[in-house]
């Protein structure tokens, strides 16, 4: 393999593994910025992956090559529905955020596999026919070196995810909606006094996390696993949560962290084909995202941690 070829391989596989993490981490950012801790991201991704695969299998004949793209939207929609459970429990019914998130994580794989068994009489679906394959940007892929690395046979959803991250940053930091969303996560009492509907913005935050988390799961299932089973999503939701923390609850930070974690993940898979990397035990690359998150948490404590009211239920006084 030529050097450019190796770099192109690393870049592309990093993009593939990062995309689900980017989307889900952005979702987590919205939820936690509004003050609702979401450890249920993992479960939301499971539901996204499940619904996308089922949609893909059932609708492949109708929508042909468009199927995986529509399935991402289906995954997002199901993610929203599922996150509603977390939103109702924590915001309206004042449940503990960690307990409710754990319920989401317990329920999602059980429900997904239950339905798969009911519909397909086995614990694992067939492989999908149309997956999110590789894409070459017309024109750009002819560029010397850069074209081969970034634009030829690359992963289009990754570029969309980067765009979504920039949009998310803009929404959170440059719009009225974003300011209000952040304010209910920092100081709900103050926000309420100023006439902001705390509950409404918290619902918005959680539902956005459901949308993006569901999309993340859908991308993962259709680009990496290719089918759905109990073992499809193992830890990706928690890595996304780690990326959100590593990125200090900022969309651009989350994007960077997700890219980095995606890089570590992809190295643990393709590393065997690469010189130097193949001598690193894969276990180190596998645990890297988790280990780094702990180190970062310990090292950066006190400097702009999470939103102030994160994890606290707001009870409106009469």
């Amino acid at each position: 393999m030529t050097l450019v070829g190796i770099i192109a391989l690393i870049v592309t596989s990093t993009l593939v593994y990062s995309t689900p993490l980017i989307l889900t981490a952005l979702g987590g950012t919205f939820s936690e910025r509004s003050g609702i801790v979401n450890v249920g991201l993992e479960g939301i991704m499971v539901m996204g992956a499940f619904s996308a695969v089922v949609f893909n299998l059932e609708m492949a004949d109708t929508f042909q090559a468009w199927t995986p793209w529509l399935a991402i939207l289906v995954g997002g929609a199901v993610g929203v529905l599922f996150s509603l459970l977390h939103a109702v429990a924590t915001i309206t019914f004042r449940a503990d955020h960690i307990i409710s998130g754990t319920v989401i994580n317990l329920m999602a794989p059980a429900l997904g596999v239950f339905l798969i068994k009911v519909w397909y009489q086995k614990g694992q679906t067939d492989n999908i026919q149309y997956n999110l394959g590789y894409y070459s940007f017309p024109g750009l892929d002819k560029l010397p070196v850069l074209g081969q690395i970034f634009f030829k046979n690359t992963f289009l959803p990754a570029y969309l995810a980067v765009v979504i991250a920039i949009v998310a940053w803009f929404v959170l930091y440059k719009t009225r909606f974003g300011l209000r969303l952040r304010s209910v996560g920092e100081n709900p009492q103050a926000a309420d006094t100023l006439g902001i509907n705390v509950y409404k913005f918290r619902y918005a935050g959680v539902l956005i996390s459901g949308l993006l988390g569901g999309m993340g799961g859908a991308v993962f299932a259709q680009a990496i696993s290719g089918n759905f089973s109990a073992g499809t999503i193992v830890g990706q939701g928690f890595i996304s949560m780690a990326a959100m923390i590593f990125g200090k609850w900022n969309p651009i930070g989350a994007l960077g962290a997700a890219l980095f974690f995606g890089f570590a993940q992809s190295l643990s898979i393709i590393g065997a084909q690469l010189p130097v990397i193949s001598s690193i035990p894969p276990v180190l690359l596998q645990i890297a995202p988790y280990l780094i998150t702990i180190i970062v948490l310990v090292a950066f404590l006190g400097k702009a941690s999470g939103p102030k009211a994160n994890g606290r239920n707001y009870i409106k006084s009469k």
């Binding site: 239950f114 949560m241 276990v283 702990i294 310990v298």
Partner: protein, 378 residues
């Protein structure tokens, strides 16, 4: 405040949650064309139908009692130990490894050694988030979640690359442990028709009593509960919050580690590669939440969940209903325990002086808690 009514509510909430969860499970069965009566019937039959199945149900409850106790001890100190599955995994691997390394030792030495080192491994795994929380204020929720995955991958690595080849049969599983390290008791196995129930159950019952004694009758237990209620006041009263926090995590981890030990030395008699976090971790958390952390509550909830789990397997073969419905029901039960506020409010409607009671519920509910993700100051 009327304590009696609050106590009644505390007992009714888990009972109602179980009922609602099971009813919703039945509705789910119905909506997919299964008969819930046959379903639950075959569940009970598979879990309690004969001596062997009762033995398996007790066997299933054993690790759950340990992990649930682990969760409850940490929870009393105000911690969410979500790392139970990682700690159990550490205990499982360690105990089996010790047993395989020293197969020649007499049973009286080897078995206690393997059990204790397994518990120690769990304790060490839990001490890390405890220390980080106590000295750096790092959220134990995040650290324990991350450590679950670190331990998951490391355990596979240990088996495949560190353990000597002579100790394992393949890249996927270790050798069987010798009889000298086994928790199986021939008379117990025979009593329950050849099921895998083992001495771990006896250890679990002892642990239930010991933890109850520790929490209610010793200074350390008092300190743990006190720090959980108010770390600042405890500090003023001369307790060391830091020490108490680390101690509670160490005890919690040791108990979770024992949950893994009984799987390794009792149920499976070896260690094999795990692809996902051990289910006894999160199930133990669920058991503890349902049992509201009390010894009796944990025992009953652990038994209930094992009936569901073992029965669920029978439901799959007997009534052709996928096993996963059981896990959906368990999640629903915990969901309703989680939103207990709503149930408490609803219950006041049926109590005399409902207005007064409603206020009590709301006062209790709105007492501030300092559980935030980044960890409060200590």
């Amino acid at each position: 405040m009327n304590n009696r009514n609050e106590k009644i509510r505390n007992i009714l909430v888990p009972i109602l949650s179980v009922i609602i969860g099971l009813v919703l499970g039945a509705i789910l069965m119905l909506s997919f064309g299964y008969n819930p009566i046959t379903g639950y019937g075959s569940m009970l039959d598979a879990a309690l139908g004969n001596q062997r199945s009762i033995g398996e149900t007790l066997r299933q409850a054993t690790p759950l009692i340990f992990t649930a106790l682990g969760f409850s001890v940490a929870n009393s100190a105000g911690f969410f130990n979500i790392g139970l599955s990682g700690q159990a995994l550490a205990g499982w691997l360690t105990s089996v490894w010790v047993a395989l390394l020293l197969p020649e030792l007499p049973k009286l030495v080897l078995l206690p050694l393997a059990v204790l080192l397994g518990a120690l491994a769990g304790a060490v795994a839990a001490a890390i988030p405890g220390l980080l929380r106590a000295y750096f204020g790092t959220s134990e929720v995040i650290v324990t979640i991350m450590m679950n995955y670190i331990l998951l991958y490391v355990s596979t690595y240990m088996l495949q690359s560190v353990m000597s080849e002579s100790l394992r049969t393949s890249l996927d599983s270790s050798n069987q442990i010798s009889a000298n390290a086994s928790l199986r008791l021939p008379w117990l196995t025979q009593l329950f028709g050849g099921s895998r129930v083992n001495a771990g159950l006896i250890l679990a019952l002892i642990a239930l009593v010991l933890v109850w004694f520790l929490m209610k009758k010793t200074t350390l237990g008092y300190e743990i509960r006190s720090v959980g209620l108010n770390p600042f006041a405890s500090e003023y009263a001369g307790m060391s919050s830091k020490r108490t926090i680390v101690m509670s995590m160490v005890i919690s981890g040791a108990l979770a580690g024992l949950g893994g030990v009984v799987e390794g030395l009792g149920t499976y008699q070896n260690f094999f590669v795990q692809t996902t976090s051990l289910s006894i971790g999160f199930d133990g958390m669920a058991v503890s939440l349902l049992g509201s952390g009390s010894a009796l509550g944990i025992l009953l909830s652990a038994l209930l969940f094992s009936v569901l789990k073992i029965g669920g397997l029978g439901m799959q073969t007997g009534a052709n209903i996928p096993f996963e419905i059981v896990n959906v029901s368990i999640a629903l039960i915990i969901f309703f325990v989680g939103i207990s506020y709503v149930i408490r409010v609803a219950l006041t409607k049926w109590m005399p002086d409902s207005k007064e009671e409603l206020e009590i519920v709301q006062v209790i509910e709105s007492t501030p808690n300092d559980q935030s993700q980044e960890g409060g100051e200590i």
